[in-house]
Amino acid sequence: MASHHFLDANILIGSLVEWDGQHRRTHRYMQQGGFRRHTSERVHRECTGVLGRLRRTILQYLEYMERNLPACPDPLTLDRTIDRLTDRRVESLASRQERGALRSFVRKNREDFRNAVLGTEEERQAFRRDVIGAVKAVPGPGLPGRPRRSGTLPHLLPRRLR
């Protein structure tokens, strides 16, 4: 009889992104066969809810920057301008986690964001599409291993994503 594994949000997201050194292990786990994987609707909703909020935060940020950055920014002072506007936007966010996500996003994608700001409209759109596409890669029915919704296993709330 096949054994059953229940996947929580940490494994679902860990299999896709390198945020906790889990990626390699969870990715390898997802490739393995011989057992059935399950998750609950609640865990799935938790994952998509968090990631949806992150998408919203970044889309709002990009909109804010579009409105506030000068039409032809000075490349020499652009970093300072980005930092100043980012600080202002971060301060307006009520959620501590969303503030952390925005700061991390700007820090780790500065080069791409900078190029997008200095680039053409197409390049800005491409960057925006990649932000949307990144969050679209949410664990779900298309995930390797195809975790299934289970009505029999108890709901397990992801500890770290709460």
């Binding site: 998509t48 809810g49 909020r53 992150l54 986690q97 969303e98 990144a134 679209k136 890669a137 995930l143």
Partner: protein, 317 residues
């Protein structure tokens, strides 16, 4: 002229300018809203023309009741079109035609002469773009819902082309799935950031996530694409109706005349939101089940880096 006479006289003024006009009720609301928006803030007639934003744009209970009165008085009559639409037409000129002050008369004349009765939608869209109190409203109502309706109409059920949901091309009349999806994310970028809308915004984001998957199903041209897109369209309207119930509560969404309605409106908004939550869950469940056959997309390095940065920042925040 008493305050209660202002709106009936303004309505009659519309028909004095163009006696042959046959207008749907909603167009009369919008014309008078434009009149209100054009008149100076301290104008006496403007103060007696109160509006609030609702499901189909600016709406006035005073205009609504004045139309009923004019119908009962036999000044206006209702006509049904072949498609079942009801239009208001001039029945008889009043024995003593009332007049409005010169300013209002000029404004009504200009707006009505410029109006194309065969393209009321364009007139309404301009009102959303120029006067809606929140940027979210024209983006959602004009840039998403309206093209979505046209998109569905141009892809009837059972029609099969090489890729029916993805015609591409530059024809702005046939918006493809990419344009629709992009318009939706642009709405999410300008959600109303008011405490009253926190819960709505959560549901809207859930809708955007589900719709994103639904558009992917359409792109893959799966056999169930039509029903998934139809459900996405229906949910889009449910979402809009819930929003419209909330926006009229905010100060920017209504004139002070309606302040006495706020208690009831808040109650109705709470009920609409409570009803939206299970509908959105059911919609997302349906999309998720429908997306089972779609192979996983492999994110490229930049997307992985973006997602990693977000999740890491979120967890350490």
């Amino acid at each position: 002229m008493s305050a209660s006479e202002v709106v009936p006289r303004l309505i009659q003024q519309i028909y004095q300018v163009r006696p042959d006009l046959k207008l749907p009720k909603t167009a009369i609301h919008k014309i008078l809203f434009r009149v209100r928006a054009t008149l100076p803030e301290n104008d006496w007639e403007r103060r007696h023309l109160p509006f609030y934003w609702y499901k189909y744009g600016p709406y006035s209970e005073v205009v609504e009741s004045s139309l009923d009165t004019l119908k009962i008085q036999g000044i206006l009559r209702e006509e049904k079109t072949q498609t079942g639409k009801t239009l208001f037409a001039l029945n008889a000129r009043p024995a003593v035609p009332g007049s409005v002050c010169e300013d209002a008369s000029v404004v009504v004349g200009r707006i009505v002469r410029e109006l194309d009765p065969y393209n009321i939608e364009a007139f309404v869209n301009r009102i959303y773009r120029n006067h809606a109190p929140y940027e979210f409203m024209p983006r959602y109502r004009v840039d998403y819902l309206a093209p979505f309706k046209n998109c569905l109409a141009s892809h009837p059920k059972g029609q099969r082309t090489l890729n029916q949901w993805h015609p591409g091309g530059d024809d702005p009349e046939t918006p493809d799935i990419d344009r629709l999806e992009d318009a939706l994310y642009r709405c999410e970028a300008v959600l109303v950031e008011e405490p009253l809308f926190e819960r709505f915004n959560e549901e809207f984001t859930a809708y955007v996530s589900g719709a994103g998957k639904a558009f992917d199903i359409a792109r893959k041209d799966e056999s169930n694409a039509y029903s998934v897109i139809k459900a996405t369209y229906a949910s889009a309207w449910e979402t809009w109706y819930a929003f419209a119930g909330g926006v009229r509560i905010l100060d920017e969404g209504h004139d002070a005349y309606y302040n006495g309605r706020l208690g009831r409106w808040k109650q109705e908004y709470r009920e609409a939101l409570a009803a939206l939550v299970p509908k959105m869950s059911a919609y997302n469940r349906y999309v998720r089940e429908s997306a089972r056959r779609i192979p996983p997309r492999e994110p490229d390095e930049r997307k992985k880096r973006i997602l990693s940065s977000l999740v890491e920042g979120y967890l350490s925040g």
